[in-house]
């Protein structure tokens, strides 16, 4: 096959399919299967290893995902920050550390879910597929950070323009020309995970309890709007 066709499929068609699925299905699921929006915690069945698995994973992946979002949204600010080598090192090292934290957490999660038969009962095939995807993706990410360093800078010049071109409905894959296979795999897998998102337990990310911090302490519901 012409590599250009493959590129167009992987970096133009696939992203749109995945993003479309993501938006359509999360909304559809929220409207029709609201009951299924849950973090599906298994802490009740096993409370000790839970801490060492779930906490590192969540802190790790939240920091890493947030970092990707910032580099996507404000690439110039990131570049300006990185103009000073020390700040660049701090950013790179903490990003790598959070990546490793994610991986350690993920592996602990899989081992915990595999080793307790009660928790295996509440782990679905979808969960296992999701864990596999996340582990591979995290390994890709960590490898990129090690093999192709200063990602925080080249993300801003290579990937941000590409992602913006996708979101502005004017896809331009020329930015990706010359990027290594590892980086390309990371991008493809990222879109696959986004497309898979609405069918998994990950949807609980969208219902994080933000109003809690400023709502009234007690909640009372009346018939009408009292």
């Amino acid at each position: 096959m012409d590599p250009r066709v493959l590129d167009q499929f992987l970096f133009i068609a696939l992203p749109y399919v995945c993003l479309f699925t993501f938006f359509l299905m999360t909304i559809y699921r929220y409207r029709t299967e609201k009951f299924s929006y849950s973090s599906l915690s298994s802490q009740f069945l096993e409370n000790k290893q839970h801490f060492w698995a779930v906490v590192p994973f969540h802190y790790g992946i939240l920091a890493v995902t947030l970092g990707h979002f910032i580099a996507f949204l404000v690439p110039r600010t990131v570049l300006a920050w990185n103009s000073h080598p020390l700040r660049l090192y701090i950013l790179e090292i903490s990003a790598l550390a959070f990546g490793l934290l994610t991986l350690i957490g993920l592996i602990s999660i899989v081992m915990r879910r595999g080793s307790f038969s009660k928790i295996r009962e509440v782990t679905t095939t979808t969960d296992w597929i999701l864990f596999a995807l996340l582990i591979v993706q995290t390994v890709f990410g960590i490898s990129i950070a090690v093999i192709y360093p200063w990602g925080s800078s080249w993300f801003a010049t290579v990937l941000s323009p590409y992602l913006w071109s996708i979101f502005l409905l004017n896809p331009d894959i020329s930015y990706l020309a010359g990027s290594p296979l590892l980086v390309r795999s990371h991008i493809v897998l990222a879109f696959l995970i986004i497309g898979f998102f609405p069918f998994t337990r990950l949807v609980h990310l969208l219902v994080v309890p933000n109003p809690y911090l400023w709502r009234k302490v007690q909640v009372v519901r009346w018939y009408g709007n009292k």
Partner: protein
């Protein structure tokens, strides 16, 4: 003053025979489902005992309820607003299934399928979670009737402050004593579960005060399970949602008593409306321990007071509910007679289930002998009771004995009064003196006697009209509702997608 109405409850502990009919009625209707097998929205505990989940009253372990901080703020002990963010992934005070018990069934198929052999096949216990063989460590009512006392009864947190001799006598052969403590959700005025829910899934119904969990909004953050000091919100391990006692609201809405109330063999349960002042909730929840019982009672308003009636009408409380509040047996027990007390008010959730503390066994504690039943001391001195006053005070008075002593004295006076009336072997004067000492008139004693012993179904349960039809009319076309009602979820409540 902001008048609200609350469906509240009284359990008369002297009448509870510990038959667990209430628990079974509840289980059969509500929690006989996958993920809910271990839940007992209603359970009956033996006291002294550690209860369900084990040692639920030990808030050093579970961190349930509110605490009053040094700067006078009411703080959720487990996950307050500042603690919720770092603790949302792993709740540090979440009880696990081991604190309750692992539900099990028996491998009955083995009785039919076992290969021929020298011994009879058995039905081995298997876990209802993973189906594996299980070594049963604990189960519902594991410490029923003081079973396993050295492990359970002796670790009751309410024994705090008892002398060694009192503790010893509690479990001495031929002198041991226990009573039953049936528990459901207290449908508190200041519910800690509601206050702790990050999703805002828990709520109190404005019209009747029933505390519910919106199953569509619950996201399994588990805060309510840790926050409820009575451990009456349960985590459904299969659906990933919390569940709790719903006070059988579908039954109440159709004028029926909740299943546990209806089925109660000892007729210990009373249900009725209380009017309370919602504006003073915070103020009362912050009172010092020794003032909590009185403060809580002061929230309850007199339904005959014209000013209260006017305020209630202004707040949309219907005439039928007002009338129901005036006939409420709970109002009499709690506010008029003051013989029903809230459990563990020191958790500061302002529970709306009240208990008449038990006087039995009538035989008092004397180191050597049983006391003589003569006309001077027919019923024992309250302070010599075999259930130590201190123990009851820890349960029903935040450690302070005043309210419990008052309630028990009045109960004793009622017994003297009735003894004088019916048996006649005690003289009327002594009976009247004891009534006076207990701050009880003959008429009041007679009324207590009647509502305690001769009460009919409609005396015990004064169920207000819940007017859910108005709620339905507000939400949708009643004819549409009529076609849909009863179907609930289109698909069963499954786990995830």
């Amino acid at each position: 003053m902001q008048v609200r109405s609350q469906v509240s409850m009284v359990f008369h502990l002297d009448k509870c025979i510990g038959c667990h009919t209430c628990s079974v009625a509840c289980k059969n209707i509500w929690t006989d489902r996958k993920g809910a097998e271990y839940m007992w929205w209603n359970n009956v505990e033996t006291k002294p005992g550690t209860g369900f989940p084990t040692k639920w009253e030990d808030q050093d372990k579970y961190k349930g309820g509110f605490e009053l901080t040094d700067n006078g703020k009411l703080n959720i002990k487990s996950t307050s607003k500042t603690k919720i963010i770092p603790n949302i992934f792993h709740n540090p005070h979440m009880p696990t299934m081991d604190d309750y018990y692992e539900p099990w069934t028996y491998d009955y198929q083995n009785l039919f399928n076992a290969p021929e052999g020298p011994v009879q096949p058995t039905a081995k216990p298997i876990s209802m979670i993973d189906g594996k063989d299980i070594d049963i460590q604990s189960g519902p009512n594991w410490d029923d009737d003081l079973g396993g006392s050295p492990i359970y009864a002796e670790n009751d947190p309410n024994l705090k402050g008892l002398t060694e001799q009192q503790k010893h006598e509690l479990s001495a052969i031929e002198r041991l004593v226990f009573f039953y403590f049936p528990r459901i959700c207290n449908h508190c005025l200041n519910p800690c579960c509601v206050a702790s829910c990050p999703s805002g899934a828990l709520y109190k119904r404005g019209e009747d005060g029933i505390v519910l969990i919106d199953q569509q909004r619950c996201r399994a953050w588990r805060s309510c399970v840790a926050a409820c000091p009575y451990k009456k919100t349960y985590f459904n391990w299969f659906t990933g949602k919390s569940e709790k006692c719903i006070l059988c609201f579908p039954r109440l809405e159709t004028g029926q008593a909740p299943a546990c109330f209806h089925s109660c063999v000892g007729r210990i349960r009373y249900l009725g409306v209380l009017l309370y002042d919602a504006d003073r909730l915070e103020e009362v929840a912050k009172l010092p321990d020794e003032e909590l019982v009185e403060g809580h009672r002061s929230l309850i308003l007199d339904p005959f007071d014209p000013q209260v009636i006017a305020e209630a009408r202004k707040n949309g409380i219907s005439e039928a509910v007002l009338e129901s509040a005036q006939n409420s047996p709970v109002y009499k027990f709690v506010k008029v007679w003051k013989i029903a007390l809230p459990p563990h008010i020191e958790y500061r959730t302002l529970p709306m289930l009240f208990y008449v503390p038990p006087m039995s066994p009538v035989q008092a504690s004397k180191p050597e002998d049983t006391i003589k039943h003569n006309s001077d001391n027919l019923f024992h001195d309250i302070d010599d009771s075999r259930v130590p006053m201190r123990f009851l005070a820890n349960l029903f008075g935040a450690g302070h004995e005043g309210g419990v002593r008052y309630a028990l004295s009045k109960q004793k006076a009622v017994r003297w009064h009735r003894r004088a009336e019916t048996v006649g072997d005690v003289d009327r004067e002594t009976a009247d003196r004891i009534l006076r000492e207990a701050n009880c008139s003959r008429e009041e004693a007679e009324a207590i006697y009647e509502l305690t012993t001769l009460c009919k179904f409609e005396d015990r349960f004064v169920i207000p009209p819940m007017h859910r039809e108005q709620a339905i009319e507000m939400m949708k076309d009643p004819y549409e509702h009529k076609k849909e009602v009863g179907f609930g979820f289109v698909s069963g409540p499954a786990r995830g997608l």
